[in-house]
Amino acid sequence: MAGSVAALTLARQGLATTLVRSGPGATGMCWGTIDVASASPDRSGLPWRDPVRDQPLGPAERVAYLLNSRPAHPYGVLFPERDVGRAVPDIKQALDVLSGELRPHGVTLVGSLDESRLLANVRGAIRVADFALAEAAAGDLGRGEGAVVVDVPGLAGFSPNAVARALRAELDALGVPGPSIRVARLDLPQALAELAASPARLAGALDDPSAAEALAAKVAPLGGEGRLILFPPILGLLRTGALRATLEDSCGGRVAELLGAPPWSPAGLRLDRALGAALEGAGVLVRRARAESIGTPFGRADTVVVADEDGHESLPADAVVLATGRFVGGGLREEEEAFGEALLGLPVYDDRGRRLDGGPARRHLRRRFGDPQPLFTAGVRVDGRLRPLGAGGDVAAPNLVAAGEIVSGFDPALQRTGLGFALLSGRRAGLEAALLASEAVR
C-alpha cells in the first residue's frame, strides 16, 4: 500500500515513476478494513470507550488517544504537533484521494472519522473499524437491524452457528443493543457446491454473471427482507459490487461480507488488483522484480539494483521511496543469524528505541504470547521528512524517504494502523520525494 500510494502521488505530480514490486506485501493480507485509528489500547481487544457515555470512542477520538498516549507511534512524525484537529483533515484528504483512485477499478472505500462501524469477522469477533471496502462496511452491526448469518454448506472452516453465538456475546460485551441474529442455510446450486471446499475458488466462480443469477435465486427464500445478510467473504473476486446488487435485489435485505484474512477473504486481492489498475492508469511503470540494494556512491541514493529472472539491473533515480515493509514485504531480513534492514543495512529499532539489528531475530521475541514483542515493532527511524536515519542519527541519504511498515515504533497488526499508516505515510513520502527530486534536478 505505502509504495503504491507514494508512486500514485508522484505520478499525479507528473513525475516519471517506477514502482519496483515483487508482490502485494502485507496489503494482500488485508481483512477488508483500512484502520487509521487504533481500536484498542491493549491486548484485551476491547475498544477504547468513552467513560461518560460508556460507548466505543469514534475514530477521531481514537486518533487523538493514539497521538497522545503512544509517543513512539510514527503518527508522531506525520503529525508532530499531536493536534487531532490538524491531523483529521489530512487523514480525510488522503482517504478521499485513495478512494477516488480505487473507485474506477471496482473497489469502493466507505467510512468516516465521525463514527465507528462494528464489523464482524468469520469467527464472530467484532472489530471496531473506521474505513472498509464497501462489501465489508455494509455489515455494520451498530444499526440495530436484525441479521442473518448465511450458512454455505461445505465451506471449509466456516461455522455459522458459532459465528452467531459469538456475535451475540460480543455485542453484549460491547453494551450495544443487540439485533436479533439467526442462521439461514443456503442451498447452493450443484456446480457451486462442488467448489465450496475452497473459498477462493467459490469466490472466483461467482464472478460469472450466470453463477451470480443462480445464487440470487437461492438467496431469495432466506427471508432477509429488511435485514442484514452476512455472507462469508466469497462474493466474487472482481465483480463484488455487481454481485451484491444482484443479491440485494433478490432478497430485499442489505448484503455484506464478514471480515476475514486470506485464505478466507479475497479483500486483499481486490485491493491489490485495484491499486495495480490505478497505477497503470496513472502511468506508473511497474517493474516486477525484487529490489536488492540501493546505491549511495556519493551519499545520495542514485540507483536501485533490482533482480528478476533475467538478472540484475540498476535503475537510476533522483529520489527513492523505501516502502519495503517488514517481514512479509522483505524489508527486514535475517541472513546467517543476522537480522537487519535488507537494502541499505540501516539500523533497526523497536518502539522503545532499543537497537535490534545484528543478532538473530528470535532474540527479540518473548515466549509468552501476551508479552510485548519488540520484533513486531521493529523498523528504521526517520526524521520529520520521513528520511531514514543512520546509526549516528544522521540522515542516511538526503533523497531517500521511507513509508509504511518499514518505519519503526508500532505494531501494525496489534495497533491496527498498518494500512492506515501505510496510506498516510505513502502519501507524505510521495510528496517529499517529489520535492527532493525537483531539488536534485535543480
Binding site: G23, G28, A203, G204, L237, P263, L269, R288, V328, G329
Partner: protein, 153 residues
C-alpha cells in the same frame, strides 16, 4: 552418558539400591537383545523403507528436497489460492494446500489422494507473482504431480 549421569544423580538423591538394580537389569537386557537379534545381512534402512512404503515413505530425492526447503518459507497466507482462482486455474490441489503438502513431501502423497497425471497445474504462475515468500509454487505442483504418478504406478 547423559542417562547414566541422571541415574547417578537419582541414586545420590534417593540412596535406593532398587534404582541400581532396575538400571542394571534394563541395561543388561537391552545389550543382550541387540546382540542376539543381530542381522548383519539386512540393510536396516531398506527394511524401514519397505515397512513404511505403504504409507508413502520413500528415500528423499535431492531435487524434491530443494523444493521442500523452499516450501518451508510458506506463511500459509493463502494469497496463492486467490490468485489461482482469479486466473481460473483448476489444479488438482489448491496452491496453498500443494505448498503445505510439499513441506511434508515424503509422506503425504498417498494421503492427498493424488492420481497419476492429475497433479500438475497449467504453470501460469499467477500464484508465484503473489507469493510473499517467493516459493516456486508451479514447480511444487509439478513435483507433486510426479509423485502422484509414482504413487499410482
Amino acid at each position: 552418558m547423559r542417562g547414566y549421569r541422571g541415574f547417578l544423580r537419582e541414586f545420590r538423591r534417593t540412596g535406593s539400591l532398587r534404582a541400581l538394580v532396575l538400571q542394571l537389569s534394563v541395561g543388561g537386557r537391552h545389550v543382550l537383545r541387540q546382540w542376539t537379534r543381530r542381522r548383519p545381512d539386512v540393510d536396516s534402512e531398506a527394511l524401514f523403507l519397505e515397512s513404511y512404503a505403504a504409507d508413502g515413505v520413500r528415500r528423499p530425492r535431492a531435487e524434491l528436497r530443494e523444493l521442500q526447503n523452499a516450501a518451508q518459507a510458506c506463511l500459509a497466507c493463502g494469497l496463492c489460492s486467490g490468485a489461482c482462482a482469479q486466473a481460473a486455474g483448476r489444479p488438482a490441489l489448491d496452491p496453498r494446500d500443494a505448498v503445505l503438502a510439499a513441506i511434508r513431501l515424503e509422506i503425504d502423497v498417498r494421503r492427498l489422494g493424488l492420481e497419476g497425471g492429475t497433479g500438475s497445474c497449467d504453470a501460469c504462475r499467477a500464484c508465484e507473482l503473489r507469493c510473499p515468500a517467493h516459493i516456486p509454487i508451479a514447480r511444487v505442483q509439478t513435483a507433486l504431480g510426479t509423485l502422484g504418478d509414482d504413487a499410482s504406478s
